[in-house]
Symmetry: C2
Subunit: 333 residues, 2 copies
């Protein structure tokens, strides 16, 4: 299996993707194709020991920035690492694509280059969030705004397929994000979506609310990408603020520093449970081949988790199952 990694994307590129890629060659039995500035990658590769015959570099000189308009960047920056990588994936030069770079550009490349599965109306970004009951999926986490009811139904279906195959959850439960638990609660979109979800081939349990995100009430939460993006960033932002508070709590005085020694193990456990790095990346679901968005701030450990996830994405038959479900009647009504 060959995993294509955008070596230039993310806050810690090229160090984090290259380090994680080399580790993956040794530990995960995969081949890695790094895409980016060849010289830079070579220099980085020299730091690690691994089976060099399993690593390939595909040169890409252009750089996409956060200021690039996504669709325009994909069309005009043909030699950027993300566009070269997406074309490689499309043409069978690799089995999955992982990038820590600009989300919008990766989504555009997934849509415009890799392409939608026939019958999938709008591919969605699926994020795994930590919760009191383990990692749960939020879909769509930001690929699509102004969704229609049938989009949310498809998100629920393809999200369920992913959770079953990659996370090993049989018959995953699905909740519809709303502003109240009762069936009648919601805005126009969710009120229209609710009855369609009841008829869909999923384990739909009803509306969920914001508090269910961290409580992990359902395995999958389906929502419009605007709402999903707001939820994801609210949780991330709160995690950062609370993390700092806890840190301050243990460093504010000599006494509290002593206290920290006593709770060191619990503190580590707490930090790990809040750590997105354990959960890998966010798959873009609904494209013809596997595309995974790693967090922009990913360190090597986080990239390694995302590579593991990409491998599982390829090994399980998610895309075939999505094809089977969405073409089975096409548009779900």
């Amino acid at each position: 299996m060959r995993i294509i990694i955008d070596a230039m994307g993310g806050d810690h590129a090229p160090q984090a993707p290259v380090e994680a890629g080399c580790k993956a060659v040794s530990e995960l039995d995969v081949d890695i194709i790094f895409v980016g500035k060849k010289e830079v990658i070579e220099k980085e590769l020299a730091k690690y020991k691994f089976d060099r015959s399993r690593v390939e570099i595909v040169n890409a000189d252009e750089v996409v920035t956060n200021h690039d308009e996504p669709a325009k960047a994909v069309r005009s920056k043909k030699n950027s690492s993300i566009v070269v990588a997406a074309n490689l994936l499309k043409n069978g030069g690799g089995d999955a694509l992982l990038s820590m770079g600009n989300t919008g550009v990766l989504l555009a490349a997934g849509l415009l280059i890799v392409g939608r599965i026939k019958g999938v109306l709008r591919p969605a970004l699926a994020t795994l969030l930590p919760s009191a009951r383990g990692p749960k999926m939020l879909i769509d986490a930001g690929a699509n705004t102004n969704c229609k009811a049938e989009n949310l139904v498809q998100f629920a279906i393809i999200g369920s397929i992913y959770m079953k195959n990659v996370m090993g959850i049989s018959n995953p439960t699905v909740g519809l994000m709303s502003n109240g638990e009762e069936e009648g609660k919601g805005d126009e979109l969710t009120k229209e979506t609710y009855p369609l979800l009841k008829k869909a081939p999923i384990n739909f349990v009803g509306n969920v609310e914001g508090r269910d995100v961290m409580q992990g009430t359902t395995d999958v939460i389906t929502c419009d990408g605007f709402v999903g993006n707001v939820i994801l960033k609210t949780v991330e932002g709160m995690g950062a603020v609370v993390g700092n508070m806890v840190k301050d709590m243990f460093t504010s005085s000599v006494l509290s520093k002593i206290g920290a020694v006593f709770v060191l193990n619990s503190l580590k456990e707490f930090k790990r449970s809040m750590d997105y790095r354990e959960y890998g990346g966010a798959p873009l679901l609904g494209t013809k081949r596997p595309v995974i968005k790693g967090h922009g701030s990913s360190d090597a450990m986080a990239v390694f988790s995302a590579i593991k996830q990409a491998k599982k994405f390829v090994e399980t038959n998610i895309i075939d199952e999505i094809i089977g479900q969405v073409s089975n009647g096409g548009k779900i009504k």
Copy 2:
């Protein structure tokens, strides 16, 4: 000044509202009118010492439950504490109304009984959320779904007036909740709202994202009530989960219990900064007279904070200023 308190609403009613009301009589120089089952309130009042001449009870026998459809409950349960209280407020029998009961029913009573200020398109629920930079306002936090651009602009204006008068912030900054910082980011609603906010008589600083909620980037965040409700409940839910994690961290072993002793002060500080009870209630802004929604789980301390807030709401000239702003041209374009 006379504050009307729905003595029957909330998880800790009638104990919490009655205890807080009695404390307010003694400490805040206000008169209190309790609305609810007279015998029950009398029995509760007997527990406290206060100037009895400053407390009145208005009997209301019916009970509104969480299963009642709000508008229907307001129309049919004429003798419920919330409907009786709203009519009292409307008819000048008190200067502000505070309820910890069913949010939907209180909103319906505010709209249908107390009434909108002329020119206010849709009154909004304004919540104060804790942040790294102190309490900040999220408006609308759940009163209105399927908002239009001019609704979000009015929320920003009336939210700013409240933050200036009650929270003492001069020229409060306003952010538009979106899925990206740049002007072009958002869904149809926010893209339409952005240019209107630039022209509005407020200190608009641009789009904000979910992570800005807890970072407290702006004093006011304006958004559709569906989105606001999801944010509010996500933050509350995460607060509860993190709170439990921190608790577990300090009780998991003998060692960590010892550690807790050393960080006790910091721990208390941490808990307080996450504590909604410090911030009082959520004002319903845009009604002709002050209506405040206290949190359903409010204890006496939280109700007391909300009474303080209600007093400040009445003392400052918020409603006059809202009237001035919204009638000045009426619908903002």
